[in-house]
């Protein structure tokens, strides 16, 4: 492993900022560290860079324990959210700065500066002064400066967060290309799940100083390991339910019984929270009840009665409700429905939605539901 963090813990006074975080990045991997502000991401980065001495845990770079080494001895490239180019040096001098420290001779230095400025598409700005550059150009120069000494690990701490949306998208593509071309192992820290999903080979989701989920972005999105990942990675509806049967797992939600694909290990009768993505839900005409034998009388169903058919497992079940709010987002509508059971759900819908106040049904495909033990959700939410 190029980068290994093992049981990292840090406290500011009595405040724990990071609590037992472990993660690793393989050679050439782009690992995104995703989490809300204040979750401890930056503390992790500063510890890897050596600007912060952790209260506990180890950091290893290429197998060497660097936890107690000063920053200048670690081969780590660092780009902050705020620009840190040196205003008293030219663009070229900024990029050469790290090479000089490593004892690279003047000729090789000049060649390397040209190479990396070329890589970020600013070959002609070598003699410019940083204040003359645009925000996006400055970001590129910072990337070039961090990459020129060929670090073992590149740490990007919210590098695009201060930019506007358009520029952020452009530079995101640039970062992806540059990372591909240089093959540098990268730890990309962001609170923006779109950026993280778009860039990362692998995602580490952090919440309240702890790792809440690790995996490739698609897997994390489709089968979130924790309620926090479910709600932070994309949008999620949380509905209270009760387990009514196992193998396959069946859950009663709002008077309707759903056969759900995942979430084993919940005993019958236990209270659970069901997470389902707004885009997995669809709206149906009012009054149409969940068809199929499985939805009949969930309350009276005994848990050990075998489930009718494998096909029935994936059947969508409908919940009755009233349209509370419709937001027109151009390419889709976000429809908020208040269910008769009292909960509200958000439904993404492509077609023209029913009018506000009208009756509707919400169809929940069982296999898109992720089930968590009740209370687990409360803990994670409260901590956020």
């Amino acid at each position: 492993m190029t980068l290994e963090i093992d049981g990292l813990t840090h406290r500011y006074g009595d405040e724990p900022a990071v609590d037992g975080v472990s993660l690793s990045a393989a050679e050439g991997e782009l690992l995104a560290l995703l989490g809300p502000s204040g979750c401890g991401k930056t503390t992790v980065v500063q510890t890897v860079a050596g600007h912060l001495q952790p209260t506990g845990g180890r950091v290893r770079l290429r197998g060497t324990d660097v936890t107690d080494s000063p920053p200048e001895t670690r081969r780590v490239g660092l780009v902050f959210q705020e620009p840190t180019l040196y205003p008293h040096m030219t663009v070229g001098e900024n990029v050469a700065y790290g090479l000089k420290a490593r004892g690279v001779g003047p000729e090789e230095r000049a060649a390397t500066v040209d190479e990396y400025l070329g890589l970020v598409g600013l070959g002609d700005r070598r003699d410019s002064s940083p204040p003359e550059l645009s925000g996006g150009q400055r970001r590129r120069v910072e990337l070039a400066r961090a990459l020129a000494p060929e670090p073992d690990v590149l740490l990007l701490d919210e590098p695009l967060s201060a930019l506007d949306r358009q520029l952020r998208r452009e530079l995101r593509e640039e970062v992806a290309r540059i990372q591909r071309e240089t093959g540098v192992t990268t730890l990309y820290v962001t609170h923006d799940q779109e950026t993280a999903m778009a860039l990362a080979d692998r995602l580490v989701v952090m919440n309240d100083g702890r790792v809440s989920g690790t995996g490739d972005p698609r897997t994390l999105y489709e089968s979130p390991p924790t309620p926090f990942v479910a709600s932070f990675l994309g949008r999620s509806n949380a509905l209270p339910g009760t387990v009514v049967g196992r193998q396959p797992l069946r859950v009663e939600v709002g008077g309707v019984e759903l056969a759900v694909g995942t979430g084993d290990g919940h005993p019958a009768g236990s209270e659970v929270t069901c997470h389902v993505r707004p885009e997995a839900l669809s709206l149906g005409p009012p009054g149409r009840d969940g068809a199929g034998p499985a939805s009949q009388g969930p309350a009276g169903r005994s848990p050990d009665v075998p489930y009718p058919s494998p096909e029935g497992v994936a059947t969508a079940r409908s919940l009755q409700g009233e349209v509370e709010r419709v937001a027109d987002l151009g390419k889709r509508y976000d429809v908020t429905v208040r269910l008769d059971a009292g909960d509200t759900v958000l439904v993404e819908c492509r077609e023209r939605p029913p009018t506000v106040g009208g009756r509707t049904t919400v169809e929940i495909p069982g296999r898109t539901v992720t089930v968590f033990r009740r209370g687990a959700d409360g803990v994670m939410r409260a901590a956020e």
Partner: protein, 271 residues
């Protein structure tokens, strides 16, 4: 640069600045009237003749010897202190900050008395130094001690503000690019805080070269320009002060111009 940029920004009909301008103008007037009144005396005295007396020459020489030394000591010790105060919090930092401004808030004559009570001829330190042949009072060294005590806070306070304005992340970036703390200070922190540090040095020098109260207590002899001015005033009144005062003024203007030229420090902000 467009025409609008170079055109004078003064336009009639900006009443919102009228009141502050009037108040500020009053203060400026109060600066300029005594200055002009004093300088108008210069014509009636033989400046050059007065300055060529051995006493005046000695005073000028002493001032030019001591003030740069005091400034150098204050800078070499004060800039690191300013950096630490700007970058770290530590137990007792409040106390350290209070100590830095102490010489600014006590009257110089009291400051001089404090120095005297620490290194005076009858204290252990002063006695030992005098026995070793380097008396700490009534000597050029005493002058330097008095000047440093009173003037050093200026460079500490100003440089501290300068270092505080340098984003610490610039230093972190430098460390991650392979430079140790000392090299980072030399390559990044100091160049970026240069303006403030130089301004602090200038202020410290100006204060040191004009220092009177503390110097009088610690080392009334040998005479510096300010103590000599006092002696002249007692003997000959206002007119007798003019020649040496002009010397002090000249030194101040020279140093300010030189530093501005070398460091391109902006003391006048154009808008």
């Amino acid at each position: 640069m467009s025409l609008a940029d170079v055109a004078p920004s003064w336009r009639p009909g900006r009443p919102e600045l009228l009141v502050p301008a009037a108040l500020g103008g009053l203060l400026l007037l109060y600066f300029v009237v005594p200055f002009v009144a004093f300088l108008s005396r210069a014509g009636v005295t033989g400046v050059v003749a007065d300055l060529s007396t051995p006493d005046a020459q000695r005073a000028i020489r002493n001032s030019l010897l001591t003030a740069p030394v005091a400034t150098a000591v204050a800078t070499v010790l004060g800039v690191p202190l300013a950096y630490v105060l700007a970058r770290r919090s530590f137990p007792g930092k409040r106390l350290a900050e209070a100590l830095v401004v102490l010489p600014l808030v006590v009257p110089p004559v009291v400051g001089g008395t404090m120095v005297l009570s620490a290194v005076g001829r009858f204290t252990p330190v002063g006695a030992a130094a005098a026995a070793a042949g380097v008396p700490l009072t009534d000597s050029l060294l005493g002058v330097v001690l008095a000047q440093t005590f009173v003037a050093a806070p200026f460079v500490v306070v100003t440089a501290r503000a300068g270092f505080g304005a340098v984003d610490e992340r610039l230093e972190r970036a430098s460390r991650s690019l392979g430079y140790g703390p000392v090299a980072t200070f030399r390559n990044v922190s100091l160049p970026l805080a240069r303006g403030a540090v130089l301004a602090g040095v200038v202020l410290t020098f100006a204060r040191a070269v004009g220092e009177f109260g503390a110097t009088m207590m610690v080392a009334y002899n040998p005479r510096t320009v300010p103590t000599r001015i006092w002696v002249e005033f007692i003997a000959g009144g206002v007119d007798a002060v003019v020649p040496l005062a002009l010397v002090l003024l000249g030194i101040a203007v020279l140093v300010l111009t030189a530093v501005q030229h070398l460091g391109r420090v902006q003391t006048v902000t154009d808008r």
